[in-house]
């Protein structure tokens, strides 16, 4: 090993290999073995790090980026207007939608004249970056601290509106994600990178 190579060490913990002759004590191995055994013995009495999963769950961060939700507004109408910005922003191209015009008798279902008659996210493609959330001008899509469950079929990972849209009687709280500061930042056009 030359001098230049020696200097390359990111952690300063690298050790130079030495082939020096072992001392008599080292050749007995037993002291080293006892040392090793005392290390393992100390671990024997250490607290276990195991989390008993189904009963105990590791706490998620409030702003964890997990399974998406399509929010309803306060009156229970879908906020999404199928503008397609989320699909455009998505780097993994996992979002697709079909826009439709609201009928007169659907005023209580959709907030604006245009809505998404089909809205799908492919959870196998999604990288949970949260760009859709940032891009959304209607505060309709959010990532939540829920996880995507496992499935047996690939097709089952394509989530439609039946899964994504939140239910009227069991709202999903995103207030931790959308603090007033975040909202103000989003609405400040001067900070937008989309113009």
């Amino acid at each position: 090993m030359n001098q230049d190579q020696k200097k390359i060490s990111l952690t300063n913990r690298s050790k130079v290999v030495s082939n020096k002759k072992m001392t008599l004590m080292e050749r007995f191995y037993l002291p080293a073995i006892f040392k090793g055994m005392s290390i393992t013995a100390s671990h024997f009495f250490k607290r276990e790090v195991t989390i008993q999963y189904p009963e105990v769950k590791r706490p998620f961060s409030d702003i964890y980026r997990g399974l998406h939700v399509l929010k309803l507004d306060d009156e229970g109408r879908e906020r999404c207007t199928a503008c397609g910005l989320c699909a455009l922003a998505c780097p993994a191209e996992s979002i697709t939608m079909i826009a439709a015009e609201r009928k007169e008798d659907e005023r209580n279902l959709y907030r604006e004249e245009k809505y998404a008659s089909m809205y799908e996210i492919n959870m196998l493609r999604c990288i949970f970056c949260g760009d859709c959330e940032s891009a959304c001008p209607k505060e309709a899509i959010f990532l939540t601290n829920r996880t995507v469950p496992s499935e047996y079929e690939r097709a089952d990972f394509i989530y439609g509106k039946d899964v994504l849209v939140e239910k009227k009687d069991s709202r999903i709280d995103v207030s931790k994600r959308q603090t007033p500061e975040v909202l103000a930042f989003k609405q400040d056009k001067s900070k937008s990178h989309n113009n």
Partner: protein
């Protein structure tokens, strides 16, 4: 040879057989638990309370597995391998004195299946056959990894058996008997062999690890290099037999170590507590099992501490490390024996 005697022996044999199997069963759980604790995990705890039903689940799993036989395997030998290993593992429990004597209805019954006067020799003979089970299984599988595993098992056995026997010879010299019962009896009153034979004990202990193919001498199995070694091609209960016999061997080895070096069923103040004869015997058996448990734990402790020896290191250690020590120990023992005892 009356009917009472035969009946007692049959009961004892069945009891020890069941006991060995139970201990082996729960050793598998203990191993996984101990491994878990050593690695800051919990180990299996889902099947039953503390995972106590885990061995049953494991056994059931093994039974349900496909009974696979390689196309070009030697069918007779393929089945013979695990059977022989299992048989031999169970055979060696016959001569171990599990306790003193029980007096039932005025008759004295020894807690030992057979007090043969060549007990030590018998154990070694039987244990040496054990490697044939591995060799035959590895050969019959017609798989290069399996063959490699069995070749390693054979050469490992040869390297360690000698040192092991040498360390035993010293005990036979000081005891003047090959009978295990005699060896245990002479150690009573805390005259344990480990105090007079520390070097012999260390050599024997190391060899016992090698003999049972446990880490750091698990070269025949060697999951990382030989994908399982001699039992690569085995599945279902045939594999179960191999794995199971390892734990039985561990149990028997622990019992042997306890009997040869730690006074067997001897415990401090054995005859000074004014207990009845049967009580002393039962407590002695309990003491023996305590010792066995400790050595069983030691086996696991070592396994989860030390890395595996390399093949050449193992050979060098066996021949050039242990052998000289065993011989020196033998010569020294002979010298002191001649100096003080005669």
């Amino acid at each position: 040879m009356d009917i009472q005697f035969i009946l007692y022996k049959i009961i004892l044999i069945v009891a020890i057989l069941l006991l060995s199997l139970m201990v082996a069963m729960y050793s598998t759980l203990a191993e996984r638990k101990v491994a878990g604790f050593f690695q800051d995990r919990l180990g299996p705890n889902r099947a039953g309370i503390f995972g106590l039903l885990q061995p049953v689940a494991d056994g059931l799993k093994l039974f349900m597995k496909e009974e696979f036989m390689p196309a070009n395997a030697d069918k007779v030998l393929y089945i013979m391998g695990p059977s022989l290993t299992m048989l031999v593992a169970l055979l060696s429990s016959a001569v171990i004195p599990w306790g003193g004597t029980l007096i039932i209805a005025g008759r004295e019954f020894a807690l030992q299946v057979a007090d043969v006067n060549i007990g030590v020799l018998y154990v070694f003979a039987v244990v040496s056959i054990g490697v044939y089970g591995i060799m035959i299984g590895g050969w019959a599988s017609n798989n290069k990894y399996a063959l490699m595993g069995s070749v390693r098992a054979a050469s490992q056995m040869i390297s360690y058996e000698l040192a092991m026997s040498m360390s035993i010879v010293t005990i036979v010299m000081t005891t003047g008997s090959l009978s295990l019962n005699e060896i245990v009896t002479q150690q009573q009153g805390m005259h344990w062999n480990v105090f007079t034979q520390p070097i012999g004990f260390v050599v024997f202990l190391i060899c016992a690890f090698a003999e049972t193919n446990r880490a750091p001498f698990d070269l025949p199995e060697c999951d990382s290099e030989l994908i399982g070694g001699y039992h690569t091609e085995y599945s279902s209960m045939k594999l179960g037999f191999y794995l199971f016999s390892e734990y039985i061997n561990m149990f028997i080895s622990s019992a042997m170590i306890a009997s040869l070096y730690f006074g067997g069923y001897d415990f401090p103040f054995m005859h000074d507590m004014g207990l009845s004869h049967n009580m002393v015997t039962l407590m002695g058996t309990a003491a023996l099992f305590l010792k066995i448990t400790f050595f069983g734990f030691l086996f696991m402790w070592i396994r989860w501490t030390l890395p595996r020896f390399r093949y050449d290191q193992l050979m060098r250690f066996g021949w050039k490390g242990l052998m000289p020590w065993a011989i020196a120990n033998m010569v020294l023992t002979g010298f002191f024996y001649m100096l003080f005892k005669k």
